[in-house]
Amino acid sequence: MIGHQELMMPTLGPLRKTVTIANPNGLHMRPASAFAQKAKCFQSQVTVTHGGRRADGKSAVELIMLIAMPGANLDLEIHGDDADQALLELSQILSSAGDENPM
């Protein structure tokens, strides 16, 4: 059921943020899987771009294909009702060093 208030909500544009990969091994399978898993918890559409490549943030495989090295800057674009919270939690995953032993 869509409530009256929701129908009156103005359509917001996507939220954008650039986040630097803090993980010393870059965006490898573990952080990519953690990111995709978290992104799937949100309704919002999540797009990650890096070096001219675009990935659906809900796909670990697409994130792996970004080849994001340690220190790389990733552009996050999040569009949807829960974009605020998604941006907060997802950028934390990228800017955390992670538990890197083993990778």
Binding site: N25, G26, H28, M29, A60, I64, M65, M69, P102, M103
Partner: protein
Amino acid sequence: MFEFVVREAVIPRLVSTDREGVIRELILSLRTSGHFQNTDIEDIVKAVMRREQLGSTGIGRTIAIPHSRHSSVTRLIGTVGISQPGIAFDAVDGEPVHVLVLLISPQDRPGDHLRALESVVQTLRDDGTVAALRAATTTDQIWQLIGGLNTPT
């Protein structure tokens, strides 16, 4: 992807039927290529299994990419194995795994590991390639499917 796959270590028909078994089978096969010592085998198996316990490397669509760093290798090496019956791998989509790509990286080469991972998922992106790998019966067929050229003998 053929650049880092050790051709002699490719296994068109894996014999083992469980996760640790196929991982050990692939590592033993890589050992014969001379990239590490017999004494390293159990340590590498343990390292790859420790990584699996942190979260399955079964990425879905019947593919798994078990991997680890290990100090015994001086460059990134890998191998491919096909399981006909499929292996319970706790994969992201819950499906059994038929196509395995095992990677072992040196300790300090994160870029090489990222590029290898990308190369594997890029190569296996096409469902037709995955199906052809599952149907492959020889190393030659697998080698060709991962982009390598077969020299006529």
